[in-house]
Amino acid sequence: MLTATSPDPPTVLIPMPHISAKDLKSNYDVIVVGSGAGGGQTAYTLAMEGVKVLMLEAGRNYDPASETPMFQENFRAPLRGASTPDKPFGFYDATVDGGWQVPGEPYTNASSEPGRKFEWWRSRMLGGRTNHWGRISLRNGPYDFKPYSRDGLGFDWPINYEDLAEYYDRVEMLIGVYGSNEGLENTPNSSPGVLQPPPKARAGEVFTRHHGRKLGLPVIPIHRAVLSTRLDSKTIPAKLHPRNPRAQSILAQAMDERAACFWATPCGRGCSIKANYQSTTVHLPPALATGNLDILSDAMVSELIMSDAGKATGVKFIERKSRQEMQVKARIVVLSASACESVRVLLNSKSARYPNGVANSSGKVGKYIMDTVGARLSGQIPALENLPAHNEDGAGGGHVYVPWWLYREQHAGKLGFARGYHIEFTSGRQMPGMGTFSPLDWINGGRYGRAFKEDARRYYGSFIGYAGRGEMIPNEDSFCEIDPVVRDKWGIPVLRFHWKWSEHENRQAAHMQQTFADLISAMGGRVRSAPEKDGSKAIEPGGSIIHEVGGAIMGSTARNSVTNQWCQTWDVKNLFLTDGAPFCSNADKNPTLTIMALAWRSADYMLEEMRKGNL
């Protein structure tokens, strides 16, 4: 029986055989909890290699082919598509049942002081946050895996860049990433032929590139998981699945079902033509086509089931429609529910034998939660006024960015903060929304009538915004634990967060704003607001960049970390975490690509260990 609520989309050759709870098999090889970037990649790798996988997703089934609002203009939406508490990123954002608050599923903060709160974005849908994310896919560089060795702060990873480089290549070939190889410091090249060609820069991006040179800012093509051309289904499958003709043929078919970007509609809505990566369009269809993957949606996992021998034998979950608690078993359990949600499952798996939760002999579960440092500044650029009308929709997100460029100065201790940031752009003649013309008053002092209309034409497209995305160093004051009192509507104890930025992050945020102000001035523009000298006023609240990682960090010993380099918990050898939880640092690079590369590597390790009979 199918639980899918949407009709089969016309172009999809691969059925989506989601199961209902009564069709669960009595045993699986692997249970994967979560269906986003980490869960999607884990299930894909395992299912393609013949492993029987059950994926449990807390939210509802979701079909991008039939549910994505591709060309809907804002006038068709309630409130012109403006954001509301129901849809925090606007009406047409892909997120289902999600946001920084999920009804009936609270979390708490230990402190209400400014700067001490963490806001936790979740979504409750198949594919999770991959459906709406920005698709920015940057590799961590060699420094990013050895930050402690470099400056004495935080932790080194138990792996090097070289250990993951091959997996970055594989993920990029599978999902399709545009970008270029620039050979810049700690900004790795992909192997030849892996990246897709980047789209041309827009007017504001070109203008920034030109004037950014005066400040030494390298404006280069960004890497995003959007197909600028169709994937090469003739050669890539054999590279990804050598000696596995069936996997190759399934993947080739799945790749052929993905269209190249047609340079319209924002990626945050999702993509019905599968031109960008989301787990639901890229990982899950081929994995399902193998017949090795069952997906059960509306299954909210509450805790692990442990054997007397100290192995995970399965999970308990609440079937959301019937509100019944159920169990399912497997040889291996993989938590990939998003860093904090996976931590929550570990901590809630308490028993006499595991008084602090499972896989927590180190006491490190929940520790070292990190987000990305965010600060922004916007301005108006006279040179961009009155440009001839032209289409700047492009790839539905940025085409260029500025990687961190002050490694030498920072390493010499000249900056006052230890880690770097990259710069993302918002520019151009985007589809007007509710806020597009709000800054006009600032420019023209407040007008109405024909003069207002003329100003709108003149200034449209001349506003530009820069956002810094920087590395946060893990600290002892940023962690989560189980709230002793509060439970969610399923009766599951919730997380309580503790949060604190260090001066490294605050100073970095102030540096971001000063850089943006200098850049806007260099372009002959006007800054919307003066840059904050006090970084604690510039920095966005913890959790607002939605890059939370850590909480079950990987390391080289069981004493000071939760998992080994394979994302395998030290304490329970058939328990793995393949989301952001094992990150022991959070480079300025957006985490999703690294989550997928680590998940693939971890799944390869599971395959090997299963073959050897160790798992």
Binding site: Q72, D86, A264, D393, G433
Partner: protein
Amino acid sequence: MNSPLSGRLDRRAAIKWMLAGTATVMVIDRATFAQSSPVSGGKGYGTDPDLIKEYKPGDFWPLTFTDHQRRTATMLCSVIIPADERSPSAGELLVQDFIDEWISAPYPGHDRDRERILSGLVWLDGESKTRFGRVFIELKEGQQSAICADICREEVKQPEWVEPSRFFKRFRDLTAGGFYTTREGMLDVGYVGNVPLATFEGPGPEVLAKLGLA
């Protein structure tokens, strides 16, 4: 200035006091917004609305404007964004109905806009009567414009125009948001996207030349 607590109070002063946000707001609100019911606590469109469907104001929550308020809002929309050779007026594109939807929405912040807009519309009639002896929609174009000219600026010197100018700014923001999200409004400013393209060519030579980067 009259105190709302002392003796008789003319309508104009009362509204000014109301707009200034004194303790009497609640009392005067009752009279001014007699027709309207409170919006707080109502239901929105939820966290999983159908994104493919097309919606119109009133689909999710009841609207507010009385006939007179709607006619006044229509007129003000069209004073702010009048018809010209490139596009129709905001009133012709029914932006007033969007504003009605906005101020009726059961989300945080919208109740504040509701109070500001409804109070402002009352003020507008009061000011029109004081200056020209008629309500706003009955004024000549030049008379309407004369009032707007006094409250349209970002920096307002006269204390009695501070609150009305806040109302005007918010109304103008909503009008612009409503107008430039229509097809006519998007075309007016030269938004030519939202169409599938075979290739993305980036800025053409004409654009680069204007940027001095040809």
